[in-house]
């Protein structure tokens, strides 16, 4: 029996890695997730034969648990709107972290003797898993709009550090306390670890959530890998650590796109007091009617569309694609420019545009398109703000200084579709909006796009 299980786990590990590899290209990506899915099915099914799985009630509970958790996730996963994807990923990720912590707790509660190294690894896994769990739940609540304020108070970092210190100290005591760890001690330890995850995530602003979710994704992977060591399970070790490493790299890529080190994301209070931005804004915001904007675009040679989170909120991606097709029929070259951190996750915009049916070969990255803005007649900024703020290039005082931005301001004309006059997520005033070649088109993204469509249709 052990042989069959090992073969199955080995096959699952191979399928996971090959699947992940295939996800690296849009052409094979779908096949990749399906292969990984089969890996999961194989590994799960053979685990029912595992020699350490025994007892009728335990079997029953396992099947019931898979039914409840899987059923709920299937239901929510099928129904969630594409715009809400980031928080769902955060939620599912948090569940994984919680599960990893649970394995550690069960192992530590056991009556059998574990070596102190295994006990220590179990403790470490509980801390990491619990932090990923509670932290992801907070990230979910923030993106879902359940928590709108970023909680900040005096001495916050010292208190957080204190909680972490206490957690680690208790963890070390537990590691050396041998079999049958005191239940109360274990409970306090778990609660402290959970509290740290909450405290650490609460002060982080919504704009930084993608980086945080990615970090927790990596942490869950690491926790799962550590549990693989505790349970002597190579499938868990390999899959967990592969994800841990991949997630770490992804987190770095995202932080780099925002030009801020990860420590800065986690420990600086971004978006709260953007005191550095005291520079005078020159010029005024100039409004434009949809009909005029439509004419401008209809007779352009090249239009570049810069979507941001506002497009997601307004669910405007379908209208934008309709607008694009209309312009293409008139012979206008239309390209999409995507900033790495546009939206609430890297690639968030790509997913939404793909949902609307926009082919991925007219969608460009920052590096590919930035030199093209100079030759564009019109740049349309829809629901994006900080990622096109020229202050990031010009003003070293600004909190977003140094962040690579899309050079929308270099286009001959810029049309900004925006709901109100407020500043972006970072709280920094956007100088692009006051530029001479910029016109503001106020209104909900979807409504504005519809108006543009009808005004272009009128030209005929």
């Amino acid at each position: 029996m052990g042989f069959i299980i090992n073969v199955a786990y080995f096959a699952a590990a191979v399928l996971f890695i090959v699947g992940l590899k295939q996800m690296a290209s849009p052409v094979t990506a779908r096949r990749g997730i399906i292969w990984a899915g089969w890996g999961m099915v194989i590994a799960t099914v053979v685990t029912f034969l595992h020699p350490e799985v025994r007892g009728f009630i335990n079997y029953l509970l396992i099947i019931l648990g898979i039914g409840i958790g899987g059923g709920l996730a299937w239901y929510t996963g099928k129904r969630v709107a594409m715009t809400d994807m980031p928080q769902m990923i955060a939620l599912y990720n948090g569940m994984g972290g919680g599960a990893a912590a649970g394995i550690g707790i069960v192992a530590l509660m056991g009556s059998y003797e574990l070596s102190w190294t295994i006990q220590f690894i179990a403790v470490l896994g509980v801390i990491i898993g619990a932090v990923a769990f509670s932290g992801s739940l907070i990230a979910f609540a923030k993106l879902q709009g359940l928590i709108t304020k970023s909680l900040r108070f005096d001495m916050q970092q010292k208190i957080n550090l204190g909680v972490l210190g206490a957690t680690v100290l208790l963890g070390i005591i537990i590691s050396f306390s041998g079999a049958q760890v005191n239940g109360a001690l274990l409970t306090v330890f778990l609660l402290l670890a959970l509290a740290f995850g909450i405290l650490m995530t609460l002060p982080i602003g919504g704009a930084d959530m993608p980086v945080v979710i990615s970090l927790y994704n990596a942490l869950t992977g690491l926790a799962v890998g550590l549990k693989g060591l505790v349970l002597d399970n190579a499938a868990l070790m390999i899959a967990g650590i592969v994800v841990g490493a991949a997630g770490t790299l992804l987190t770095q890529l995202m932080a780099k796109a925002m030009n801020r080190p990860i420590s800065n994301v986690l420990f600086s209070h971004f978006g709260e007091s953007s005191g550095g931005d005291q520079s005078e804004v020159t010029g005024t915001m100039k409004e434009i009617e949809a009909s005029d904007a439509g004419v401008m675009m209809a007779f352009a040679d090249k239009v570049i569309i810069v979507p941001g989170y506002g497009m997601a909120v307004a669910q405007a991606q379908h209208k934008i694609w309709e607008l694009t097709q209309l312009l293409q029929e008139r012979g206008v070259t239309v390209k999409f420019a995507i900033h790495p951190v546009a939206g609430r996750m890297p690639g968030h915009m790509n997913v939404l545009l793909a949902e609307a049916g926009v082919p991925y070969d007219i969608i460009y990255d920052l590096d590919e398109i930035n030199s093209e803005f100079k030759t564009a007649d019109v740049a349309i900024v829809i629901g994006a703000n900080d990622v096109v703020n020229p202050v990031a290039r010009s003003n070293p005082e600004s909190p977003i200084y140094g962040m690579p931005i899309l050079n929308a301001d270099q286009a001959k004309n810029v049309i900004v579709i925006k709901r109100g006059k407020g500043a972006g997520f970072s709280g920094v005033e956007n100088h692009l909006f006051f530029a001479d070649n910029t016109r503001m088109l106020y209104g909900d993204g979807q409504k504005a796009a519809s108006e543009l469509i009808s005004s272009i249709k009128e030209i005929g």
Binding site: A24, I33, V53, L61, W74, A99, M109, L249, G347
Partner: protein, 96 residues
């Protein structure tokens, strides 16, 4: 039993594999990829099944049971949303 150093080797090689596989992914696939890797650590389900499988006390059973629910949510939810996202990617039939 996986010996200490063998475990260390597995960790190291797995870490490099994860790093290499991801480093070639285009930005447009970052969200599905994060979701896909999120699905893959859903393998924790296997661990929770073993943990619950040899639970002895009622308390262990409860913790194990909750862990199985959470892990199943991670695996199934991760798969469903990733698959839904990737399903949508299509090319414009050669026209550029």
């Amino acid at each position: 039993m996986i010996e200490g150093f063998v475990a260390l080797y597995i960790f190291m090689l797995a870490a490099f594999t994860g790093y290499e596989v991801i480093s070639k992914v285009p930005v447009i696939l970052h969200t599905p990829l994060m979701s896909g890797s999120n699905f893959i650590h859903g393998i924790v389900l296997v661990g929770t099944m073993v943990a619950l499988g040899h639970a002895e006390t009622t308390a262990q059973m409860w913790v194990g049971f909750i862990a199985v629910i959470l892990a199943a949510g991670n695996a199934v939810g991760g798969y469903v949303v990733t698959e839904r996202m990737l399903e949508m990617f299509k090319s414009s039939k050669g026209a550029k």
